[in-house]
């Protein structure tokens, strides 16, 4: 019997996040542990926490899990795992060990689906050189899966979202539109080709992007996930105390993302993300509405957004394209903060 995981959910992947505005307010109420060895914590809304072990070693620690984004359990496992590891890569780390996190309705879905999700996760972990050494499952509906991952990084070579500098250019390594395409799929509006393209992109590890960043000693980067391209860019601009301008017509889109958005296929998560970013964002008057909303589309396992000193732009782009991230392009620029952190231009 073939299992269709999409039958179990209304919103999948990183669309299933708590509204960012609400989350920010809640997190403010939590005490932050004080320890000089904590090098990165949630204070700057970064992708993962970093803890210094000694002068040569720090641990990058992150977790991410979500409900199904596709019908096939094996593919869902692959996508969820690639998404979980991404935070390690975004910080310039090397993934080392991980734990499975699984919520699965044992009485409602066959055990094969449970196994296949974990096999998909194991496949991606092997590609990432990551050892899954345990995990935890509870009975829950709908299913959710992801990893908690530990990576290594040199304490002086951490890449953070606070590392963007005025004069840098921003390179995005994957096209965007997974939220729009997946919503379109649920409504029978997206083509099989577009869904296949989105799934391939979501399964693609950001490992080569991390290697290129390390080679060129990049300081600032983040990965694009649930808060959308604009949301994560804004977090980066805030953490770096700069202004970032995104040229939306330069941003590569998956398949017919634009046409779907133009038909009104704009997932609810995009509105939540827009709501969060509103006060810090200025949109140019000529900005196309569909491109604007695509900027806020929640991405699952999106690409890296890398802040690159202008003089390194060509080399970094060449290296990214040579190592498999062919869609890598410059999509924006970093400038001094002038009252707004994010500018969306056509």
């Amino acid at each position: 019997m073939k299992v269709d995981l999409l039958q179990t959910v209304e919103s999948g992947g990183c669309s299933a996040k708590i509204p960012p505005k609400q989350l920010e307010e809640l997190l403010k109420q939590l005490p932050l542990p004080a320890d000089p060895n904590i090098l990165v914590d949630i204070d700057t809304h970064d992708d993962a926490g970093v803890y210094r072990v000694n002068d040569d070693l720090a641990l990058v620690f992150t977790t991410d899990f979500f409900p199904p984004v596709c019908s096939d359990p094996y593919e869902f496992g692959q996508i969820a795992a690639a998404n979980s590891v991404s935070d390690i890569y975004a910080m310039g780390g090397t993934p080392v060990i991980a734990l499975n996190i699984m919520m699965f309705p044992a009485s409602r879905l066959p055990a094969e689906a449970y196994r296949d999700i974990l096999l998909g996760g194991a496949d991606i972990a092997a590609k990432a050189g990551l050892r899954i050494i345990g995990g935890h499952s509870i009975d829950d509906f709908p299913p959710k899966y992801g990893l908690a991952v530990v990576g290594y990084v040199h304490p002086k070579k951490i890449i953070t979202n606070a590392g963007a500098r005025a004069g840098d250019v921003l390179i995005l390594t994957k096209p965007i539109g997974t939220g729009v395409i997946l919503a379109g799929q649920r409504l029978g509006m997206a083509s099989d080709n577009d869904v296949a393209e989105a799934k391939d992109l979501m399964k693609t590890l950001n490992d080569s992007g991390a290697s290129v960043m390390k080679k060129h000693m990049i300081k600032g980067a983040t990965d694009i996930t649930g808060f959308g391209l604009a949301g994560h860019t804004l977090k980066m601009a805030k953490a770096s105390s700069v202004k970032i301008t995104l040229n939306m017509s330069r941003v590569p889109l998956i398949g017919k993302t634009y046409s779907l958005a133009d038909q009104g296929c704009i997932p609810g998560a995009a509105f939540r993300n827009l709501d969060f970013a509103d006060n810090d964002t200025v949109c140019d008057e000529g900005l196309d509405y569909n491109l604007k909303m695509t900027a806020f589309d929640a991405q699952t396992s999106g690409g890296l957004l890398i802040s690159v000193p202008e003089k390194k732009e060509k080399e970094v782009l060449e290296d990214l394209r040579r190592t498999g991230m062919q869609s890598s392009v410059v999509i924006g620029t970093v400038s001094e903060f002038d009252g707004k952190h994010l500018c969306l231009s056509q």
């Binding site: 409504l187 017509s249 590569p252 609810g268 709501d275």
Partner: protein, 204 residues
């Protein structure tokens, strides 16, 4: 008055239904959208506001009714470049599009191809009607470079009110972003739409 009932539908289905109704309505026409979702209430309000449609909402027992009037100003006409077009009415524009896929005209000797292309671009200016739009893709984007022999002519054509649309993927691929200072960057959807809506496409 037309009514679109989206009760029981999850986002984005109500937005899609509203957009469809907007597309099918005449400017100034009024219709209603009904929803029982608070999420849709927020998202649809934002959608209508950002697209400059007039609307009001009334609530009764957990059901919201939007009364929407399709905007009377076409948002496309609000773009600055369109206003600029209106300021130069003495250049008549045709409904054809010129597509440059190479910086040479025809196949054969490259030197000859470049020379022909230069003459062709020059000739565009003198035609009875200017093109509606000009698109550049693949090697064609090289024509827009500052040191290209035709960049001066293209600039003049742009000043005459013709938009020059450069394929952003191509400009980035050839790393020409810093060398092109005319036209606008377009995505492939835009370029496909321009070509699909043209009565004729001229490909030198």
């Amino acid at each position: 008055m037309r009514t679109v009932d989206t009760r029981g539908l999850q986002c984005p289905a109500p937005i899609i239904a509203t957009k469809k109704a907007l597309n099918e309505s005449e400017k100034g026409e009024t219709f209603q959208v009904i929803t029982d979702s608070k999420v849709t209430l927020g998202n649809l309000s934002r959608f209508l506001h950002d697209n400059k449609n007039e609307f009001s909402v009334s609530e009764s027992q957990g059901v919201w009714t939007f009364t929407i009037t399709k905007n009377t100003v076409d948002p496309i006409n609000q773009k600055a470049e369109e206003y600029c077009n209106n300021e130069v009415p003495h250049f008549s524009r045709g409904n054809f599009v010129v597509a440059f896929s190479s910086d040479k005209m025809g196949t054969g000797d490259d030197k000859l191809g470049s020379l022909l292309m230069e003459n062709f671009v020059k000739a565009i200016k003198d035609m009875d009607h200017l093109p509606a739009k000009i698109v550049f893709y693949n090697k064609g984007v090289f024509l827009g470079r500052d040191d290209s022999p035709v960049s001066g002519h293209l600039k003049e054509i742009e000043q005459m009110g013709v938009s020059l649309c450069f394929c952003a993927t191509c400009v980035n691929y050839y790393s020409l972003a810093e060398e092109i200072h005319i036209g606008i960057l377009s995505n492939m959807y835009e370029i496909a739409r321009i070509m699909a809506s043209a009565s004729n496409i001229i490909k030198p």
